[in-house]
């Protein structure tokens, strides 16, 4: 299960978060944990360089893209490497939507589209679409494979 996708700005403000199967009372802990993880480790990290962490049997992969940091949390089949796949899909969709590694402003300007992309990428806690062209089509209400 892909437990959470969370995008924060460089200040640690959370911009987008999607939790799946995480009890409401635990979300706050996760938020704090992830943000702290980012603050502690993401300074000076290159765009899209993947960092990893784990907590018990839950894996976390996170990275930086422009002004935002992206965290994905998963368990079971969503281990570090599957999460790397997921985060790769998310970053490429973000770059696609924003045209470049986003600044915070740009990210917020494209907020709606980004939410739609995430909706196509993660569907009820499972990774769905991984191909960025396909995602692009789907958020414009086009079929996944066009004729």
């Amino acid at each position: 299960m892909l437990l959470a996708v969370l995008i924060a700005n460089s200040e640690g403000n959370i911009l987008v978060e999607r939790f799946n199967g995480v009890p409401a009372e635990e979300r706050l802990h996760w938020r704090s944990f992830l943000v702290k993880l980012g603050v502690d480790n993401l300074r000076g990290v290159k765009n899209e360089e993947l960092l990893v962490a784990n907590h018990k049997s839950v894996y976390i992969v996170y990275t930086v893209l422009g002004d935002v940091s992206i965290f994905v949390v998963g368990k079971d089949e969503y281990d570090e490497l599957a999460l790397s796949e997921a985060i790769f899909v998310i970053t490429s969709a973000l770059k696609d939507v924003c045209g470049k590694p986003p600044t915070e402003r740009l990210f917020l300007d494209k907020y709606g589209k980004i939410c739609l992309c995430l909706d196509e990428i993660v569907w009820k806690g499972l990774l769905e679409n991984t191909d960025k062209d396909r995602i692009k089509r789907l958020i414009r209400l086009k079929p996944p494979t066009d004729f």
Partner: protein
Amino acid sequence: MAESSGTTLMDLITSDGSSSKPTPAASTTAPPPIDSTASVGPPVVAERRSKKGTLLQIQSDTISAAKAAFNPVRANIMPQRQKKKPVSYAQLARSIHELAASSDQKSSQRQLVHHVFPKLAVYNSVDPSLAPSLLMLDQQCEDRTVLRYVYYYLARILSDSGSQGLSPGGGIPTPNWDALADIDAVGGVTRADVVPRVVERLTSEALNEEVEFHPRRLQALKALTYAPSSNSEILSKLYEIVFSILEKVGEPQKRKKGIFGLKGGDKESVIRSNLQYAAISALRRLPLDPGNPAFLHRAVQGVLFSDPVAVRHSLEILSELASKDPYAVAMALGKHVQPGGALQDVLHLHDVLARVALAKLCHTVARARVLDERPDIKSQFNSVLYQLLLDPSERVCFEAILCVLGKFDNSERTEERAAGWYRLSREILKLPDTPSMRDSTSDEKDAAPSKATKDKSAKTRRPQPLIKLVMRRLESSFRSFSRPVLHAASRVVQEMGKSRAAAFALGLQDIDEGAEVNTYSDNNESYDPDINPTAPSEGRKAPSVSNGIGSKDTIASLLASLMEVVRTTVACECVYVRAMVIKALIWMQSPYESFDELESIIASELSDPSWPATLLNDILLTLHARFKATPDMAVTLLEIARIFATKVPGKIDADVLQLLWKTCLVGAGPDGKHTALEAVTIVLDLPPPQPGSVSGITSIDRVSASDPKSALALQRLVQAAVWFLGENANYAASEYAWESATPPGTALMMLDADKMVAAASSRNPTLAGALTRLQRCAFSGSWEIRIVAAQALTTMAIRSGEPYRLQIYEFLHTLAQGGVQSQFSDMHSSNGEDQGASGTGLGSLISPMLKVLDEMYSAQDELIKEMRNHDNAKKEWTDDELKKLYETHERLLDLVSLFCYVPRAKYLPLGPTSAKLIDIYRTRHNISASTGLNDPAVATGISDLIYETSKTRVPDLIYETVKTKSALPDALDDDLVNFWAANLADDGAPAMNRVNEFLAGAGTDAPDVEEENIISRPSMSYDDMWAKTLLETTETGEYDARSSGSSSPDSVGSVETSISSHFGGMNYPSLFSSKASTHGSSQPKEKPGASRYGAYESPGSPVREEPPPYSSPDHRRYESFENPLAGSGSGSGSQSFSDGRPSSGNPQFGTALYDFTAGGDDELSITAGEDLEIEDEVDGWYYVKKKRPGRDGKLAGLVPVLYVTPS
């Protein structure tokens, strides 16, 4: 204020790029200026305060919004938003209602797409009152982007399941939504009203077969799956839709094969594939229906679909179904698994997760017992699985390795894991002969491997031992720069270690690791070095060098070369990767090899302050798991655990560590017990921590505890070790008074102390060593440690036979006098504490202990005299004489039981010579030896309770440990072990739970962020910080000394608190004379601690007897000591406890049984026979009043419960 909750993000979003340039700038330089109450930390209180106000406002907003919906002629509200004021939810809602009405206009669509919908996304849920407008848009609007948003929000309305945490969540809490629950009466639109309409609408769209409509059909179906699965009505509707779609498009069309994900193809087949995709994806989100043949049939069909995501989903469904009914799945898959079949095609499908699902599916089918009679099918699936070992993606390859290793979930049995190691080390990968499909369809990502295969196809076809493939693949992964890859590779090595340990534990035949693996090939060069083109396999050289037999590889040499690479990974910057590497090393450590290297790696790692406590504890738990797998490693693991104790005492969970000590001591077996005990108690020999010293940073023989917190933790740990030593030395030394061959009162007792010690240590070095350590602790430790040491010595005195008892007796006597301290002064490394007026300051504590021993000795003397008299006079013992003797015996037993657990049936306080006489009396009077009903601890009922609880939850871990151990010949006495097991459950309940949870691989709960200051980082998240405050109130109670020693001004205060809570929590007896202080504020805090205390105290002592019907009086004993320590912190002197003592209301009366001399100001001297009024009882002490003042003029004070019998 009312509107301000959670507006930061809204603020940012609302501000237009141009007009609001300053806003993001401000947010990056100085966070707060945006809106101080917004997402900034402290909002919590503000927000809560404002909640009620908000409610009212929301209420009116909602109503007006609803009105607006019916009366859309109002002015467009958008201009209002231009004023850079953050948009409220109500405003957004209103806009949607209005714009929906004019959705045919381009401008409205633009506003919806660019302003309204994106901002609405900020909220974490969409309230039902929007549904009518959304449905209206859905019906009337033509704009695709608007529609896409509409589906998005409809799905969110459906998914809102409140507290179940299933909604996508995130964002600012939607005000109306919460409020609506309260103002239902006002006529708001409820979810119950709209959901049926939404479902109806989406259902009809999902069934719409119009060609042009099909993209919408897909989205409608997707939105429907968001409905909570608890709604069976929607669920059955969904099944119906999905199956009806699959009915039409599910049948495979042969000629369409091979269009994998490619654009083009005719329109009909593309639409068909899209629908297949949508249906299977929806099916994947529906609950599994294992018994349903249609379900299975459709899933199997899905493997043939052309859409890669659809194939992935159907494989995932199949692999889940296979875990329930492998036979049905295997049969249904039939020829797909055969060479050239659909499953073979998946091998080359460009979808990583599809191949992962394939690996799982193959593994599940291949290991299924029900298919034992169809080895052909099993081998086909196995062959697919083995081919996945060559997969270019690490994710897939690692999954395949884990499957081969028998790791599936966390519930595999040891046999499966062992078989996994056997497979990996023995089996050969033979590629099927059919031509590879690779060349035709793989796209870029697959290009590299497919090229490699083409070039080397001749070579890869050669059969290869799995182990070589895997080793080489892992080695190359360890050269990766990607941290996730390193982490995953270490994890795979760890799993490999687990399987290997399982194989050794079961003693699998044929696991000779010296055997050569090149069975199928002439020389090394024929192996394909390009399994993974990203890294050259230099690793190959290592084995041939390290292994002296030329070019032949053995498993051992392959492993050695792998481990070499693994060890170098410790240099990774990421602490999580390093932790995983250490775990892998622990698992790969063989019990028969030197662990120096591992030890030094761990030691140097632990010196790094950046390790978070949770990770360290994880490693500690790994030691537990390792022990469970290989009990032989007890001593090694203890040595490693010792590094934790000395290096990071402040970070590790002391309970878990002690549990490890205990289990390892039992597991060490008869031969290892001495070493095991040494490994634990070596902690006591360490020099005290030198504040600020950096030298010897990697030396494990030096304590690193430079800050007060870890110094404190270290002390706690030393206390625990001292206690452990006292409690278990007799077990480790196999020396028990009731089994001692040497009767007391013989010549030994005539020796002087030195000779006695010499005699003792030659007889039993383990016990003698423990004694020496404890004696030193009783002198040179800190106050608390000295006390525990004295108690530990008493325990040993009571349990050991002569001459140890006498030796301890003499020592305690000296200690009480405080006289000969100078004799020990060379051992006395000062800790800066005043040793007290009496030299050791332990006098008052030791006197009851000495008294017990005194009584035992004098009773023994008495007995010997009596026996001589009888012998001389050649008289038989009369019944009265015997009765008197028996009563003395029982009385002493009761007394002794107060100090530590002894087996009542066997223990002879009057010495072995009394056994016969007592037996005679017992037989005459039909007294069963083990009733123990007179025991004070039983009488108070405490231990009954403990025993009950412990009985019901004997943990698996220990149970299994015990099982394995008791299976060994010459292992422990079964009863003893069961007794232990029962007690461990009780002992380490919290620790035990942690261990068991770890072993079960559980734990998806949220982490606690350490060292916190979450609050001090203001702009952490939205305004739901209030939840944090809720949590905090509970957290602050526990030790918050964690929170950064230096960063906050009140850190000193917090350390103070932690000191008291430490002692409170740990319940280490520090017998400051201020007993009464427990009655103060610290009392409530104490309570939870009291149960933990059991961890140290209780009946953990391995004693050779069946479990008595009570757990142990010594729990009780500690209770009696524990009270005084709490709150007294570091030695506040005596306090009178006239203040705040709760009076019990109805006083009880009693009589003094023995003389008692007050040992402190709070205590009261009493004389036997005196009448007393018992006011109160606290932890083993009565607060009593005399009728008239005693010689010292005192009228009231504390006396031990035992000394008074209530009348």
